[in-house]
């Protein structure tokens, strides 16, 4: 590859005369050299052996912007220059402009409002779906539901069990540290029993299910939206609500109380183990005392909340999945939104339940 020459000609102009290959590999340096050669400019292509469209573009650009003269171009090079010139239509590169902060806030507010209204609408659509299924029970998809039972429920047993067991130990240990100051460590059992059965069992299970299954629902349905599977279903006459949403809703509503019960049980076991080893309360005493201090209503409170949480999680997951449009990034965004939204709603509902149950006297 010979050196490039930029030399003054007799008319006081400058000749730029690249040699060898004028291709994309050299485009960076050639562009700089062209910039550094002052007007009036003549580009001599007689020594160029190979040129690609990027090289041709650099020449074309100088002709267009600076009125450069081109000499010594073979017919092939001229043809390439002509072709590049023909394709000279500046195209916008980046998406339409950014918004200001206020506009951003406004858009966010509107978006949040729309999402809430949309969620209500989606709730309505699933109710209609349930009604339709009640009228045509043959359309009910047993297989899909049973498969969801497995994924949402059975496969979550291990992780939820382990989590609850550890939480039971932590509550026992933290409670005992505080209560020992009053010499009341036996009340640790009250603490463990009531807090896990009434609150933490269902709540922690809900958070785990939202992270495990709610997100999966959003991602699965979202991906199906992008690949137009959902549209294909619609055109075939299969209702996406019946085929995709309702099996997931049922699975999550049925499995949540079972998982919550399992969580309560293992928390109590964990707490009991701690009491036994650390406070030297024998298991039999622990169980007897639990039966005395944990009212049956606590269990009902926990088990009534769980399916409602399950419903909210599945609803938010499927809803966000259905909102996915256009691109892969949306799947990620909506999956995140599904988890955040469902945990948020679960905690709000938990507060509402707390007020409700204490006002009907289930304290």
């Amino acid at each position: 590859m010979a050196a490039t020459l930029a030399s003054p000609d007799r008319l006081g102009g400058n000749i730029f005369s690249p040699a060898g290959a004028l291709t994309i590999v050299r485009a960076g340096s050639v562009a700089r050299e062209l910039e550094n050669t002052p007007d009036p400019l003549t580009i001599d292509l007689s020594r160029v052996e190979r040129m690609d469209t990027v090289g041709a573009w650099l020449v074309h650009r100088s002709v267009r912007d600076r009125g450069a003269r081109v000499t010594g171009a073979s017919p092939e090079l001229q043809e390439l220059l002509r072709q590049v010139a023909q394709a000279d239509h500046p195209a916008p590169v980046r998406p339409e402009g950014e918004r200001g902060a206020v506009a951003e806030l406004g858009a966010w507010t509107i978006e949040s409002g729309r999402t809430l209204v949309g969620l209500l609408g989606f709730f309505g659509a699933t109710l209609i779906g349930f009604l339709n299924l009640a009228r045509h029970p043959k359309r009910f998809r047993y297989n899909a539901v049973v498969q969801r039972f497995d994924v949402v429920g059975v496969r979550a047993l291990g992780i939820i069990g382990l989590m609850s067991f550890l939480i039971g130990i932590v509550i026992g240990q933290q409670g005992a540290v505080q209560l020992q100051q009053f010499g009341a460590e036996v009340y640790t059992i009250n603490l463990i029993g009531r807090i896990t059965v009434r609150e933490l069992g269902p709540l922690m299970t809900a958070i785990m299910v939202a992270g495990r299954s709610g997100s999966a629902f959003a991602a699965q349905i979202g991906t199906m939206k992008i690949t137009e599977e959902v549209d294909a279903m619609r055109t075939i006459g299969v209702s996406p609500v019946e085929a995709l949403v309702i099996p997931r809703l049922i699975a999550s509503v049925v499995m949540m109380p079972l998982l919550a019960f399992w969580a309560m049980l293992l928390s109590l076991v964990g707490g009991g183990l701690f009491c036994w080893i650390s406070l030297e309360i024998p298991p039999l005493t622990y169980v007897q005392r639990l039966a005395e201090v944990v009212p049956a209503t606590d269990l009902w409170v926990g088990l009534i909340k769980a399916p409602v949480f399950g419903f909210i999680i599945a609803l938010a997951g499927c809803f966000q999945g259905m909102l996915v449009a256009n691109d892969a990034e949306q799947v990620g965004l909506k999956t995140t939104a599904a988890v955040v939204q469902s945990i948020f709603l679960v905690i709000i509902l938990d507060a509402v339940f707390a007020i409700f149950f204490s006002s009907i006297g289930w304290i």
Binding site: T23, I24, A27, G28, A31, E49, R50, M51, D52, T53, V54, W57, R61, S74, E76, L77, E79, L80, Q83, V84, Q86, A87, D88, H89, P90, A91, P92, V93, R94, P95, E96, A325, N326, D327, A328, E329
Partner: protein, 261 residues
């Protein structure tokens, strides 16, 4: 221009004894293929005969069960990503379904390979290159800042071509580029490939079902059947062969119509 290379006789792609399988299903067995520098080679075969899999093996996305593949004089089987980088800069690929990056605009898609290999280009030059590539591929300039999801199927093909051409490659792989284009667009596409190939000494590996494209631009055609390439030749010579699939393909009503055109 038109420098005749000393190695012009050495094939630019050389496939020997290729075997590909998915579980029990054998897609290719003992498949051989040579692609010469500067030619447009058409690859035909029924749906599911493994044309796309062949392309994926050649470009190193599919590890074959057996056989050797050389592209631009370098072995492609069992290479690390980094080693292959030099070759990747010298080819452009248009996938069957476009495979555009969905979170980038069309122009940004075209700029991806440029930024990867020539990060020192200023962003103005980058935008200009993207613009003329888009226009060369037959897209209107306004498509530049659209997202792939906002394009029609045919426009996505063209955007994919613009990205494949971004680095002015020596070797172009096209998987059914004209499927889903209107006939006028398909013909323009053929002409575009042909003129680029002439000017840039391009070698084109063209998978197609489009008989018109085959007749219009292919120097040779490779026929995939029975897990191998059963023949590679000009269409005229293929017509002389008495393999039933080849006869049916080129001498069926569509084949004759394309031949007459």
């Amino acid at each position: 221009m038109a420098v005749v290379r000393a190695d012009s006789e050495a094939p630019i792609i050389e496939v020997r004894g290729l075997e590909n399988r998915f579980g029990d299903q054998i897609v290719h067995q003992d498949l051989n293929l040579d692609v010469r520098r500067g030619e447009i080679i058409g690859v035909v075969g029924g749906s599911g005969t493994g044309k796309s899999v062949l392309m994926r093996s050649i470009i190193g996305l599919q590890t074959p069960a057996a056989g050797t593949i050389e592209v631009l004089g370098e072995n492609m089987v069992g290479r690390s990503e980094d080693e292959a980088k030099n070759i990747r800069r010298r080819w452009g690929i248009l996938f069957q379904n476009g495979a555009l990056f969905s979170t980038l605009t069309v122009a940004e898609n075209v700029e991806v390979p440029l930024r990867e290999y020539f990060p020192k280009f200023g962003s103005q030059l980058m935008d200009e290159i993207a613009s003329y590539k888009i226009s060369m591929s037959g897209l209107p300039a306004e498509a530049g800042n659209k997202y792939p999801s906002e394009l029609s199927g045919g426009m996505r093909k063209r955007a994919g071509l613009a990205r494949a051409l971004a680095l002015d490659p020596e070797l172009l792989f096209l998987d059914e580029p004209t499927a889903g284009l209107d006939p006028i667009g398909a013909q323009a596409f053929d002409q575009l490939i042909l003129s680029l190939q002439k000017k840039l000494e391009l070698t084109v590996f063209l998978i197609t079902h489009d008989l018109d494209s085959l007749y219009a631009i292919c120097d040779r055609v490779a026929v995939l059947a029975d897990r191998r390439v059963i023949a590679v030749d000009t269409i005229d010579r293929l017509l002389q062969m008495d393999h039933p699939w080849i006869q049916e393909y080129f001498n069926g009503p569509r084949g004759r119509a394309a031949a007459a055109a």
